[in-house]
């Protein structure tokens, strides 16, 4: 079983909170700050940061789903 990250881009408000929580998994576009998913299937060691990102995203735009 692996975990997959889903980013609902239209919901993103460009806060950058995910980048601070999990910099290996998320980045922001230069022009408008919308989040970019760098790693759709992050390794186990990154999942805690992703869970933090899910929790702090002010737009509820990130979801972590079991595969």
């Amino acid at each position: 079983m692996s975990m997959r990250v889903e980013l609902d881009e239209p919901k993103c408000v460009a806060s950058g909170q995910c980048v601070m929580a999990a910099p290996e998994v998320f980045d922001q576009r230069d022009e408008d700050g919308i989040a970019i998913l760098l790693e759709e299937r992050p390794g186990e060691e990154l999942l805690d940061g992703v869970r933090d990102a899910v929790a702090v995203c002010p737009a509820v735009a990130i979801r972590l789903v079991e595969q």
């Binding site: 408000v13 806060s15 601070m20």
Partner: protein, 405 residues
């Protein structure tokens, strides 16, 4: 006196979270994530499943989004938490010695760990039962139903909520008048210069912004000001700030002072924590007690309170760098830190008059806040570091000036 489960080193088995919005849900989710497998009761006064509030004055109000987009969690994710979910039921009283929360349906829920996340409600005005407020999804849907071209909308209060709603209504073709008691909208929050720049955007978009106007009451056909003037309107939105929902804590022995008063660990009493808009706590970074009504803080504080509740022996002070954003017309405003009560503002990038700038805020000798408007959103993140590390004002602003020359 008997020791609490936490003091005795025993893990809690019955946790109650009162408040089922962003902070309460984050607390519940974190408890499960951290391995808590006991009874977890989530109490909410609204009947709806937990939903997100910031879009209420933005994309939900404009009609771009429908309510289903606001769900804080997918139903399956919510189910997976294994909650004892009590929605549509307000908490009415807290008995701390007896460790019981009383609910409006007459039931009493025992706890050995409690998170208070009851949020805030709109401040009311006399006569405003005929006016709109904007806190719940139902509030937003009721207002959205009335927003149409030609409708004369009076917005009482030019804070972020009022400003966002005014922008949406204006873009939908309403004739919008905003009434604000202060001379400069948002001055207490972002300073006079920045407040003036942001309010100019409203005037440019055809909003009739009247400052120095205090509203005394809502009438059948508009509002009456403190000076006795009557201003006519078809709809009135009261956006005059909020009050923390702490009445149900009366008689609990907990300290309430514009919010539930907590220590630096978000604890109001042994095994009683608070999170979100309702919580006032000693912020280690700013050396003052703060209560923060920001969406991001609700989630972060819910997480922090849950962790400290579960592991008091490894508890950590809650010292976040607050963050908020606001969308007004085509300008996105973002800020980090504690801007209130600041003593000085310096524009370090861009140009105020062009509405593209980064401004730093000083309290004492330190950088305590940064606000950006119309800038690429990641531009502000490097300045956030100055707030997070309590950088000295002198070095930060001097270095900036040196770099710019």
């Amino acid at each position: 006196m008997s020791r609490t489960p936490a003091e005795a080193g025993r893990a809690p088995r019955r946790v109650v979270v009162v408040g089922a919005s962003a902070a309460g849900l984050a607390a519940a989710e974190t408890l499960r994530r951290e391995g808590y497998d006991g009874t977890l009761t989530l109490v909410g006064d609204e009947a709806r499943a937990p939903y997100d509030r910031p879009p209420l004055s933005k994309r939900l109000l404009s009609g771009e989004w429908e309510p289903d987009r606001l769900a804080l969690r997918a139903p399956a994710d919510l189910d997976a938490l294994g909650l004892d979910l009590r929605l549509g039921t307000a908490a009415t009283a807290l008995d701390v010695p007896d460790r019981t929360v009383r609910l409006a349906d007459g039931s009493a829920v025992p706890y050995d760990g409690l998170v208070v996340a009851t949020g805030v409600r709109p401040r009311r005005l006399p006569g405003d039962e005929r006016a709109h407020v904007l806190r719940t999804l139902d509030d937003a849907l009721a207002l959205r139903d009335r927003i149409r071209p030609g409708c004369r909308l009076l917005v009482v209060g030019a804070g972020f909520l009022g400003a966002e709603a005014a922008a949406v209504a204006r873009q939908a073709g309403c004739e919008v008048t905003v009434l604000e008691p202060a001379a400069v909208p948002l001055a207490h929050a972002v300073g006079e210069r920045v407040g003036r720049v942001l309010s100019e955007a409203h005037r440019e978009h055809g909003v009739d912004l009247r400052t120095g106007v205090a509203v005394r009451e809502v009438t059948a056909g508009g509002v009456r000001t403190a000076d006795g003037e009557h201003i006519a309107g078809d709809e009135v939105l009261v956006a005059a700030g909020s009050l923390p929902n702490t009445e149900w804590l009366a008689g609990s022995g907990l300290t309430v002072r514009d919010g539930l008063v907590c220590d630096a660990y978000c604890a109001a009493a042994p095994d009683v924590y608070a999170a979100g808009d309702v919580a006032r706590w000693d912020h280690p970074l700013f050396g003052t007690s703060v209560r923060i009504e920001h969406r991001t803080n609700a989630a972060e504080q819910g997480m922090a309170a849950a962790r400290n509740l579960l592991r008091p022996e490894a508890r950590r002070p809650f010292a976040p760098v607050p963050y908020f954003w606001s969308d007004q017309y085509d300008v996105k405003v973002q800020a980090y830190g504690w801007l209130r009560g600041h003593e000085e503002v310096a524009v370090v990038e861009g140009d105020l008059s062009a509405r593209r700038f980064v401004a730093l805020y000083r309290s004492g000798g330190h950088v305590t806040g940064v606000l950006a408007a119309g800038m690429p959103p990641r531009a502000i993140r490097s300045w956030r570091q100055a707030v997070a590390t309590r950088a000295t004002w002198q070095e930060t602003v001097e270095n900036t000036t040196a770099a710019a020359t």
